[in-house]
């Protein structure tokens, strides 16, 4: 029983981390209709900035805040210099251009920080496991990720549902022409949304840096997961992306945790040990394919909500 609880927490934490990354992606995608493959690069930059600033300042929190600001500025600069010229273009043009940006960022990081990657050590108060219920210990830092991500989710919800900017964002996600009709400064709104998306990606990057690594190309594998999530959730929907991220996090974790044992009960040992890893690798893609076949617009399409 404890095992299930702990695995659920693992899944929740992983899902929330993915949510931070995917939320920015779905906003940019939903509102500007812009496919940004370089979102993973912003995530990487967030982690590199954090590792650098934490080392400079000697403080985890201060370094993280500085890194957040730096990613925000980088996102705005990127939008201003290059990406705003790609709005309204074909998705494929955007894919090609932002693919180019991935190549650029990877090599730029390698040039500046070297190929070895960086470490982002945690302050000691975050390295101890916490007893959450008697007998179940959970890493403090992972708990912190859960708390921070939930806070961000709540904040995003408030901004999107309760503010004027949020109203525009929602309007934009369900009907793009409408923002133009409202006569507001679209360019500024887009720049802001892009900056927000970049900051969220940077936050995801720096939050995961102590658990994983700070490394070139770290954004690419996780970017695909983020795309899977926004597609499952329905593009442009914050609610959808939140549900889908947790769903994917939990399914992925539970699949890896319990699928092999389950299969071993059904299949022979040899067959199970070949099939189980392959199947749990495929699980998320399989899930996405099934969902899209049944609901071609994702679980929570933004346009209808």
């Amino acid at each position: 029983m404890y095992l299930v609880v702990e695995q659920l927490l693992n899944g929740l934490q992983f899902g929330l981390l993915l949510f931070l990354l995917a939320a920015g992606l779905t906003l940019v995608f939903g509102i500007m209709d812009f496919v940004n493959l370089a979102h993973g690069s912003l995530y990487m930059m967030g982690a590199y900035f954090a590792a650098t600033f934490v080392a400079w300042t000697g403080s985890f929190v201060l370094g993280a805040l500085l890194a957040l600001g730096a990613t925000l500025l980088l996102g705005i600069a990127l939008e201003y210099v290059a990406l705003r010229h790609l709005y309204g273009r074909d998705h494929l043009d955007q894919v090609l251009a932002t693919f180019g940006l991935i190549l650029f960022f990877n090599d730029a990081v390698r040039l500046i920080w070297g190929p070895a990657g960086l470490a982002l050590p945690l302050p000691t108060w975050l390295t101890v496991p916490v007893q959450i219920i008697p007998g179940v210990y959970y890493p403090a830092y992972r708990l912190m990720i859960i708390v921070v991500a939930l806070a961000v989710a709540a904040l995003l919800y408030l901004v999107v549902m309760r503010t004027r900017v949020g109203m525009l964002i929602r309007a934009g996600a369900s009907n793009r022409e409408m923002i133009g009709a409202l006569g507001i400064n679209i360019k500024l709104l887009f720049t802001l949304v892009f900056g927000l998306g970049a900051a969220l990606a940077g936050l995801a990057g720096l939050m995961q840096a102590p658990i994983l690594t700070v490394q070139i190309g770290m954004g690419e594998n996780i970017l695909i997961l983020a795309f899977v999530i926004i597609v499952i959730g329905g593009i442009g929907s914050i609610r959808g992306v939140f549900m889908a991220a947790i769903f994917v996090g939990i399914i992925d974790t539970m699949g890896r945790a319990f699928l092999p044992d389950l299969l071993r009960k059904v299949l022979s040992g040899a067959a199970a040990s070949t099939a189980a890893p392959a199947l749990s690798s495929m699980l998320i893609y399989l899930l996405m394919a099934i969902i899209l076949v049944l609901r071609p617009e994702g679980l929570f399409p933004a346009a209808k909500r």
Binding site: G11, A119, P129, P139, N221
Partner: protein, 390 residues
Amino acid sequence: MKKAFWLAGAMALALAQPAMAADSVKIGFVSTFSGPTAVIGNDMRNSFELALDHLGRKIDGKPVEVIYEDDQQKPDVGKQKTEKLVQSDKVDFIVGYIWSNVLLASLKTAVDSKTFLISANAGPSQLAGELCSPYVFSTSWQNDQTPAAMGLYMNQKGVKSVFLIGPNYAAGKDMLAGVKSTFKGEVVGEEYTVWPSQLDFSAELTKARNSKAESIFVFYPGAAGVQFLNQYAQAGIKAQIPLYTAFTIDELSLPLQKDNAIGIPGAQEWVNDLPNAENKKFVEDYRKKYPGLRPTYYGAQAYDAAQLINSAVVAVKGDLTKKDAMKAEMEKANFKSLRGPFKYGNNHIPIQNFYLQDVVKDADGQLSLKTVATIVKDDQDKFHGKCSMK
């Protein structure tokens, strides 16, 4: 339109590198120099360059020319680079290859053209068995050997049960199979993680803790090793269940793993403090030549490859057409390996010792790897019987 012609002309020129006069020793070096794993390629290149420095940049009086090619960690690109080296540069030796799949894709090109290929890292079982070739040598190991040594050490420690975790790809499976081949205790669980995309090992760690195993064995090379140790320590399992590793902690990952790596044993065929004169010189000069960096086993293997080439060329007095004589000389392993005792089996895979290494703070207060004991002497891979050496 004119521009297109100029461009085409420039491309043709760039591709049409003229073959150089044959009075130098030409060596092609295929490794990964871009992307996150470039750090390994760089270390191999650094060590190879250092070996050439030590040889006076000459082999048997002939100047040495090395052409480095980036395989991008993709098999088909590695194959293309190998073809370029063989066909366009007409090299005498090809060295390098970090990845098994890149090596396997490139092997045929080298063998068909009768160009000597020296694997300075990749050691898939096929290379030791059915794919062995007179033209192919290894200065590393066969994949199973290192974890098998770890299994032996765990027996010596009296470990009764183990939980195995590794990435779900060929080398990962080889590694876990390697431990199982020698470990005498009970294997209570075996988990494969998605490679290379899985980033979070919490599910596996949770299972390991709940399995009540006495120990955990993992194989996670490169960045994944950093991630795993981070999560292992943060989950508090480090205080509960000891970890045994192969290829998870090295001088490249250590600066990122930091204190998380202290006290975690690993098996390796080379450690930086091995007490022989050549090795001391190698490590000292490496740290002098590349300030801030420390050599790794990848580098040591590349260094040995340069020495192996040198021995062969010297033996034929620089006549690079005498391939049989060079092969015969290389089979004798007539050079001083950085790892000490080193000889070749019938399949051109080294027969060598495996050492237990531990992480300690050295004199400068920096973390470094230290030889603790010799786990196994003169170990030979278990696939050599499948090699017919045609």
